[in-house]
Subunit: 351 residues, 2 copies
């Protein structure tokens, strides 16, 4: 009988952040692909698009005009999934099967800059710092609203990730409840903190920095790595090195270092398949429920769908939906590929 | 202050099968869509395609020839995510963060029929019965393999669901471990059974049959409904009315009734947007670990991605990945729409 070879043999890995397993099938990336190819968008976008409802000065769906904004610009989502209006709710005794509770919240859109054509990897560091300061301000302001206990900052990039407007922007959904994934994460962080008196992610980071196998980028204050338990082919996580529970604790040096790692990571992503690389990203941090949360550690997830090329993605479908997440290459391999990519954007190289 | 109106106001619903919440935003289906449209495949497929590696008599990727099969046909996946080979594994003491365990299994492909062009809704009932009997046989045979403890039967239909060959087929991934989603379900079923001495899904079904709000189809032995906690816009679940823990317990009357509800449900799906309706479906039932599982109840999930039309799907992305599943119309609305659709396939209507 052969000995287990983690680089070759099918195996499961455990994700201690959400207590779930992932099936890893290293050999499977070799299978031929005859399935769906995504459209590749190669058209160069203009700096300003008169038909874009996110560009400065233009009219939005609700009839309002955007200001002629010059850095980042935040407004309330015209089609918010949650609403501010308070709702009267009497928790009648219903059979266990029909539990429904009204949810109050605020949803916002964050335009990264006036430029219709500049995604994160192509922005100046100062512009990315402005976005981070905007996130800090929103986390504070929204967190201060009495009924808001959680602020979810995220970005859907690329039409393959359901993004409906190419003008670079992210979103913030703030709400009363802790969303399912955040609650799972918090439970794990809490359990670990209570058992070990230390932070799960910081302890994990220490081990990763020793092994160096899955580190993609490291600077003075942040690390970008492919988690041991990653499910998406080129999934990464940015972790702050210092114990930071929320984005408002950043020093201004940390703001710069965060901007820098965001830029370098997204440049590497674009360079991978020489395309504007799609992903969903999001920040996980302490809830704004007024309690102290020493168990939390600031981190940011990147979930990119692409697997083989700019047009072939990984489908999380049948087995993954009914059974469990499954990946076709090892996180170590993905990390090595990302690490080896240049830190200069391919578009600048071609000039 | 207004009273909570479940048909209008944003709210969360609880899924007792996997202990997770879903955010429901009834009003949100009204937002305009400028995002990605899926390609619609309208080409009529031939009954036999000489270039299809699933058609009878043709050559597969591994060089083998398919037999000239006349009903359903099962073979081992040439690019299996799990392998039969036993692997020697010593569980060394590793830091909690690097838990990896080899996984042994068998992956098969089930061609539904020799016909390259016939999906479930267009097949004869007798052909669908043959598929069910094939599933029964595979559940038994695979379940009898000593190291197999779980048999996952599923189908990815349509290229938008990562299906790489239009020849109608499903898959079976059998393995040593209980996959994450199945384990969650089993834990909930067990807890409920221990507390109440009855079956969670059968008790739920009883309530649904009283309310009638979410029932799409009912026959003598099965019900198809949109679960109260559905996450996909037109998600449904087929539940057997009798307490059945696994597919091999079906009487032959139940096999026929199951074939019939499968056909009617998939006809309604095709009729919804007059397209070959994509979905991932999968059967959840008792594991094959040799223990008795009175807590289990046979059921089948359908997770279809489409939301607004044949070309606009629901994206489970940023907020959904970082926070929690979110839906744009109520399950009650979806159930009413599906229920009202004709039970005759639109293609037969046009003749
Ligand atoms: O096995 P197939 O059809 O090649 O692949 C399809 O189904 C699998 C099981 O759900 C997924 O892992 C793949 O991402 C998907 O493309
Ligand atoms: O809010 P948008 O950009 O219109 O919509 C996009 O992001 C949302 C939040 O992840 C998702 O619920 C939608 O399915 C997606 O299309």
């Amino acid at each position: 009988m052969r000995n287990f070879d983690i680089n070759e043999d099918p195996h499961r890995r455990f994700n201690p952040l959400i207590n779930e397993w992932v099936l890893v099938s290293p050999h499977r990336a070799k299978r031929p692909w005859q399935g769906q190819n995504e459209k590749i968008h190669t058209d160069t976008l203009p700096e300003y698009d008169a038909t874009c409802y996110l560009c400065p000065g233009n009219v939005r769906a609700n009839g309002e005009n955007n200001p002629k904004y010059e850095s980042s610009f935040v407004f309330e989502n015209d089609f918010a999934a949650v609403k501010q209006e308070p709702i009267l709710f009497e928790d009648e005794l219903k059979p266990t099967f029909f539990k429904a509770v009204p949810e109050r919240g605020i949803a916002k859109v964050v335009c990264f800059s006036p430029r219709h054509d500049l995604t994160l990897p192509e922005m100046e560091l100062s512009g990315i710092e402005t976005i981070i300061r905007t996130w800090q301000k929103e986390y504070t302001d929204l967190g201060n609203v009495d009924y808001i206990n959680h602020v979810q900052i995220f970005e859907n990039k690329g039409s393959v990730m359901g993004c409906s407007n190419p003008h670079p922007h992210g979103q913030i959904w703030a709400q009363s409840s802790l969303p399912t994934q955040v609650e799972k994460t918090q439970n794990s962080l809490k359990d670990y903190f209570e058992k070990n008196g230390s932070n799960l992610l910081l302890d994990y980071l220490k081990e990763e920095l020793k092994l160096k196998e899955r580190i993609v980028i490291e600077n003075e204050h942040f690390v970008a790595l492919v988690p041991f338990w990653a499910i998406w082919p080129f999934e990464t996580m940015i972790i702050s090195k210092r114990h930071i529970t929320k984005i408002t604790e950043f020093t201004s040096e940390e703001v710069s270092a965060y901007a820098s790692i965001l830029k370098t990571l997204t440049i590497k992503y674009d360079n991978l398949f020489e395309t504007s690389f799609p992903y969903s990203s999001g920040i996980h941090q302490a809830p704004t429920d007024g309690e102290s949360h020493p168990e939390w550690q600031f981190h940011m997830h990147f979930y990119p769908p692409l697997l083989r090329s700019a047009s072939v993605k990984k489908f999380m479908v049948g087995y993954e939906m009914m059974g469990e997440a499954q990946r076709d290459i090892t996180p170590e391999k993905s990390a090595a590929v990302l690490k080896a990519l240049p830190e200069v954007h391919y578009k600048n190289n071609q000039n």
